[in-house]
């Protein structure tokens, strides 16, 4: 026991410079990641800003019961899961398809140009992307509605209609992320042995069949990894874009957990109730990510940790 302790002490002494260098990072994790985790206790209280954490009364699971019995809760959970699920289904294949198109493009300078152009939206902020959407889709002045009208149809109230919200959200997601998402798949494609293409050619495979039997199988390992990495996104949809594109008219589909928590908690001040929703979601998200990582470990060598 004593021996062990002294060896730890010796290790600390030996690594003191490294521990000192690591200290700011550890302090960051404690102050900004771990302390807020304990802040979740307010969800078991009737938290009052003036009384603070120490003097607010404990109420047990009251806020969790309120949430479960709130008819809005299920709408919000459904909206979040459907948005996440649809986003996953439609946004996930987009960079793979685009990467195959890039890979098969034989005119290198054109390919390079389209690649460069398609990466750019990735670096725009959610505010810029949402603002562009609002402007282009505006029923009176937006270019898209002008085009629809010039074809002889009535203008569509894209952002005032709950039925359109998910399409707009996911469409803008694909626009923003598909190009940049190709990079990882292009790297996988670049590592495909060119002899496989030669062999396929000798066997009489045309370009389409080469794509089908050489290119696509070459992408499968990367696809599996990316699939697992992205699956956690189904339960966690961020505040930014849903908040920016959402409004009272499309709330039936645009109101998701993060926007609801922001509205109820930060804007209306029901901190404890909103924190109860936060914790429920955090637990579900953790199980989801943990589970997907477990699967990825079993399927192959790759895992997040």
């Amino acid at each position: 026991m004593d021996l062990k302790r002294s060896s730890v002490l010796r290790g600390v002494k030996r690594d003191r410079v490294y521990l000192l260098l690591l200290a700011p990072a550890l302090l960051y994790f404690i102050l900004f990641r771990y302390v807020p985790m304990f802040g979740i206790v307010v969800s078991f209280m009737d938290y009052n800003l003036f009384k603070g954490v120490w003097h607010s009364p404990w109420v047990g699971l009251k806020h969790y019961r309120t949430f479960v019995h709130n008819p809005d809760a299920w709408i919000i959970i459904r909206n979040t899961l459907l948005l996440g699920l649809y986003r996953f289904i439609f946004s996930f294949p987009a960079p793979i398809i685009l990467a195959i198109l890039f890979h098969e493009m034989r005119w290198k300078r054109f390919r390079r140009f389209v690649q460069t152009v398609s990466y750019m939206p990735y670096f725009l902020s959610s505010v810029v992307v949402s603002s562009l959407m609002l402007m282009l889709l505006s029923p009176s002045t937006g270019w898209i509605n002008k085009a629809i009208q010039s074809l002889g149809f009535k203008p569509v109230l894209f952002l005032q209609d709950a039925a359109w919200f998910r399409t707009i959200y996911i469409g803008s997601d694909i626009w923003q992320y598909a190009g940049y998402g190709t990079i990882i798949f292009l790297a996988a494609l670049a590592s495909i042995d060119t002899q496989l293409y030669e062999a396929a050619k000798i066997d009489g495979a045309n370009r389409w069949r080469q794509t089908l039997h050489v290119t696509i199988p070459g992408l499968i390992p990367t696809t599996v990894i990316m699939f697992i990495l992205h699956i956690g996104g189904i339960v966690s949809v961020e505040l930014d874009k849903a908040f920016l594109l959402g409004n009272a008219a499309n709330r039936d589909t645009s109101d998701i957990i993060s926007t609801y928590v922001y509205r109820i908690g930060i804007l209306s001040g029901s901190f404890s109730y909103a924190a109860a929703i936060d914790l429920s979601i955090a637990v579900v998200t953790m199980l989801f990510i943990y589970g997907s990582n477990k699967i990825s470990r079993r399927l192959g060598e790759t895992s997040l940790w």
């Binding site: 030996r14 562009l132 940049y180 389409w208 505040l239 924190a275």
Partner: protein
Amino acid sequence: MVRLRGIGIFDVVNFLLLLLVAIACLFPFVHMASVALSSPQYVVRNEVSIWPKGLQWDAVNAVFSDKRLWTGYRNTIFYVVLGTCISMSITIMGAYSLSRPNLIFRTPFMLFIVFTIMFFGGLIPFYLVMKAYGILNTIWAIVLPNALNTYYLIIMRTFFQGLPKEVEESGRIDGLSDFRVLTSIVIPLSKPVLLTIGLFYVVDIWNNFSGALVLLRDESLFPLQLMLRNLVVVGQAGDVLEASGFGPKVMLESLKYAVILLGCLPVIIVYPFIQKHFEQGALIGSVKG
């Protein structure tokens, strides 16, 4: 004719699809710029699509005359400079320590760090804790809560681990201290990865919106993104038009596009020059992360 041989329907379809992708990516920017720079009579008649008609700079001048965008720019640049310095220092030092193969408590430290990827306390506890720290509505509310990105830390650690041990050892034989090994051997050898991660921090801070939305109340502290949102999404752009005196000479639509354009112009201008680094960033991030 010879060059055309071997180009089949496959290539033609592919070319057309990629052309469509390029148009879809570029069109919003081109349209935005042309509406912002067109005269009201053409804008109101819906005649502007990819080329400005009746070129005029009044919308841009009207935006420039409003101080909100300037305040946003100034604040964002300040946050980016301060934030990136802090983030890079913490990340480099932490990653360097964690890259030591025999660092004491290395595994517990890594578990401690990686757990934060899995579990986030949620917005409300986060807000209340930031309030308790007293950083609400101060510049620190923007700079500190996102000072460290767990993924970037792990990527950098992995990169440091891959550096050849011999170079480092030769430094130690020359009598360099642990800290000097970091500053005069490890950092110079890692320039590309440091540049890439630095750029990612810059973009993250530049684009940060929800952090500012939740933690800032005072308009004089708002970053560019929050100003943009208030002007375009909330619709304060109308006041700009009234206050600027450009009223009849500029359409509200042109003005809003001018605001968005000025909001993302730095990204568009700088992007082509640093594009290469972001490409590398995506690779080290996904392959090794």
